[in-house]
Amino acid sequence: MPISKSETGVPVWQHRTSKANLILWVGWLALVALFVFCWQVMTQDTIWYFVYDAPRQAADITSRMFPPKWGYISELWWPLWDTLNIATLGTLLAIILSVPVAFLAARNTTPSTRFVRPVALFVIVSSRSINALIWGLLLVAVIGPGVFAGIIAIALRSIGFISKLLYEAIEEIDTTQVEAINATGASGLQTLDYGIVPQILPAFAGITVFRWDINIRESTVLGLVGAGGIGLKLQASINVLAWGQVTTIFLVILGTVLVSEWVSAKVRHSLI
């Protein structure tokens, strides 16, 4: 225990040794220096006039945003339906694609740890590190704007998430059940069907609903890059600076997200 002597010679308890204290201080100093350096690099091209002007701009935009333009809501139902479809069909497509990837990536079900597993893991990492909006940007350039590009973007983005959580669930299964099915002389597929699938089904359903919830959130903004849904209306309203319409859209998005969160929480609660 680090103890230092006070002036009168009475030992005083301290939290750390003086060497540990020094290292800690040097660490903090380095962090502060790095922060200041990054701040200067980041703001070297900032036009400060706009920043000082920001409170006025904020007040201006707020005054234009309220009251929301409620009449606009009648134009939003169809894009909202598109948004729901993008999220749901995208999740379905992702499920179809990610189940095989998960089985190839799990250490206990993959056919070869040396060749197939790294490929599956790479698919998972690339899908996870690229945001749905970037996938949308690419797909709109490749297959044209619209709901279809949104569905594919959501699916490509979700593969990594679903596969990663699913393969972790597969790796954590109870092997005795698999052995028991094996001992009855079952084939490989039968082992999969009776030994592994029942064990991961609840986790799988939970993961899927969770991802669907996230996808609802993401699909509301996919329209910003042209991939369909309510984001298209948002982009159009921002372009013409119709802030009253923007507020209405924000409120509709907020409502949708809250409902989807509620649904997903209910379903996951009943599963666990």
Partner: protein
């Protein structure tokens, strides 16, 4: 499925697996409902197949660009974009943590008085209800284009994430230690400093590193709406149909995400 789900080998009636949803009526209505939804949803998605067919060629060029990326011809733009993204990530994470620690303490039911609790919880709810990209649109409108708007967006998003998890962590602490400090006559600050902080510190460090990771990924996205960073460079590259440059940027993003995910996982294991 009634009693046949119990494993009783009655002659002529082989055992069957128990279905995932046991209630038959609920199961069939779910199946029927999903089928109806699928038919409606798929029929409402209009796909311009000839456009998709034409796009396949372009998609192939993108795959080629990804396999043979071109780092050289836009290297200057890539460096500026990366520099903005990385500095934005670091500064916004640091500022976000600094703001979210007091809010997180205020949002923990066991140590904060009721009015403070309500205020802090509503700040968290506000920050979590809107996605980064929507916040970025508003900040760009107020503060002008550039990484400063991105910095503000990411700081704002960090507050919701970190405060919520920190508050939940403080609510889950071992009460005995707080009581021991209270028994020595320690005040509120001393309880926070000696009983709570040591218990939540490892997790706070872990969460901060995780958020650093998320902020980098998000910094690649918010550039699409003008908030600076590598996303802006990527957007330009795709708009110019320079798929090989876009491929290079995506590869850099994937690599940085992989490195940061691996190293933050390592540090988190070491801290906990």
């Amino acid at each position: 499925m009634t009693s046949s789900s119990v494993a009783s080998p009655v002659a002529g009636r082989p055992w069957r697996k128990r279905p995932f949803i046991v209630n038959a009526r609920l199961r069939w209505s779910l199946y029927l409902g999903s089928l109806l939804y699928l038919v409606l949803a798929i029929s409402s998605v209009s796909v311009n197949w000839s456009r998709v067919w034409e796009g396949l060629d372009r998609g192939w060029r993108f795959v080629e660009g990804f396999l043979v990326p071109d780092f050289a011809s836009r290297w200057g733009d890539i460096v500026i974009g990366m520099q903005e993204s990385l500095t934005m990530t670091l500064t916004s994470t640091v500022v976000g943590i600094l703001i979210s620690v007091p809010i997180g303490i205020g949002a923990a039911r066991n140590i904060a008085p009721a009015p403070v609790y309500a205020v802090c919880r509503s700040i968290i709810a506000l920050s979590r209800s809107f996605q980064e990209i929507i916040v970025a649109i508003l900040f760009v409108a107020m503060f002008g284009f550039g990484p400063l708007a991105g910095f503000l967006t990411l700081s704002f998003a960090t507050i919701g994430f970190l405060s919520k998890l920190l508050a939940e962590d403080i609510e889950d602490i071992d009460e005995a230690q707080a009581e021991a400090v209270r028994a020595t006559g320690g005040g509120w600050w001393q309880i926070v400093n000696y009983a709570i902080q040591p218990q939540v510190m490892p997790r706070l460090i872990g969460l901060s590193l995780y958020r650093l990771d998320i902020n980098f990924r998000e910094s690649a996205v918010i550039g699409i709406v003008g908030a600076g960073g590598i996303g802006a460079t990527l957007n330009t590259a795709i708009d110019r149909y320079e798929y090989d440059t876009a491929g290079a940027i995506l590869i850099i993003i994937i690599l940085i995400v992989m490195v940061s995910e691996y190293s933050s996982g390592y540090v988190r294991k070491w801290v906990q």
